[in-house]
Amino acid sequence: MVSIENLHKKFGKNEVLKGVDLNIKSGGIFAVLGPNGSGKTTLIKSVLGMVIPNKGTITVQGENIKKNSSYRHNIDYMPQIANFPSNLKVKELIKMIKDLRNHTNDDQNLIQLFKLEPFLDKKLGNLSGGTKQKVNIVLTFMFDSSLIILDEPTTGLDPISLIRLKELIQTEKKKGKTILITSHIMSFVEEVSDEIVFLLEGKIYFKGTISELKTKTNQPDFEHAIASILSDNNA
């Protein structure tokens, strides 16, 4: 699905990714974890083509993403902070994104699911953080792409919406899609993900299932396993 070879990225003097090699096979939920500043968002943005790597190749479904934009038809991306143009109405934003990509009718179900009907005529600048995040979810899940990338999807969500989001992720997984998630909420990661990728100082420190991680670190639970990696590496 996604293969990354020897990916390097520097921002000025700050070397964020130092040779990442990663292969993500089709189907399943993959969580990208790591401490703050370990390069999670940079990695994801490189896959999306928003950050241009200094070195290395990325292919998505066998297509090299360099100087290519059409491969993004197969990707649904949910950004970390829901920053939308503030003078647009929710309805207009959804219509616009539909117009820019393929048309879809899934948005109605999602709007109902997250109870967004009362907000459709409001401007995005006047919405609360959680409501914006729900709009973000609708925009991401209304298209039927085979790769879904979620950057901190749980931010600002109330418990009911969180449950709905988890259900949504599971339904998408059952359709055979590949889902890439970053999150700092360990319980969420443990609950949804099949495999984790742990980034540390710009390199991949661990890739495998959660139980493999527990055996490797000799810790009884996931949260402690992560904590032990961090304290062993002084991160």
Binding site: F11, G49, V51, S69, I75, N83, S86, I97
Partner: protein
Amino acid sequence: MLKILKYSFFDLMRSRWSYVYFGFYLLLGVVLLFLNNDLSKAVITLMNVIIVLVPLIGTIFGVMYYYNSKEFSELLLAQPLKRSSIFLGQYLGVALSLTMSLILGLGIPFVFYGLFKSNAIWDFSLLLITGTFLTLIFTALAFNIALSNENKIKGFGYAILLWLFLAIIYDGIFLMTLIFFEDYPLDKLSLVGTMLNPIDLSRTLILLKLDISALLGYTGAIFKQFFGTSFGLIVSFIMLIVWVVLPVLRIMFKSKRKDF
């Protein structure tokens, strides 16, 4: 690109500033016609206003729009769209809405005053064409500055400096050079000097067309002597087009290499 252009254009058409800009030109046109009572004289006064004001508005609007629509751009970058079409679409959206305010704002009072029956119509059209060129040039320059500077304050600072330099300081330096080297033949130098500044170029272009030798000044006179009126017009038009194309190419080049 056309879809982005459409959204940027309508977004700006709804903003208050487009109306303020439009209203300002409307008022300016009405007041000038009222005071001058003569179309040709109003055109000359307008030229002096347009040549300084249009670049200023183009620069400020361009920089402001780029920074304000940062979120919108990031949303678009994750969609299956080419980078060049995102930024060119936004650029054209800004430039076209500014041009529309200019043309409608000035056009309406002049048309009501009887522009179509007068022989000033070509001078007036040339004025609007030059205004359009200046909008395209300075909005493109503003986008270049904004793309190269993440920091808003810096971006604004550079944009204002650019305008100040081309609208005022450049002429000063140019004049000083001419005085300083007055013992040498300066024809070529002043020709090149005029072409390197779109504001000077537009001024010369309009004055050539209006054929007012008293206002042409040294460079204008040389321009006229060197090229003749019609060839001079063509050369200055070509230079204005080059002034649009180069910054637009840099927008495309720069946007392809930028990290978001």
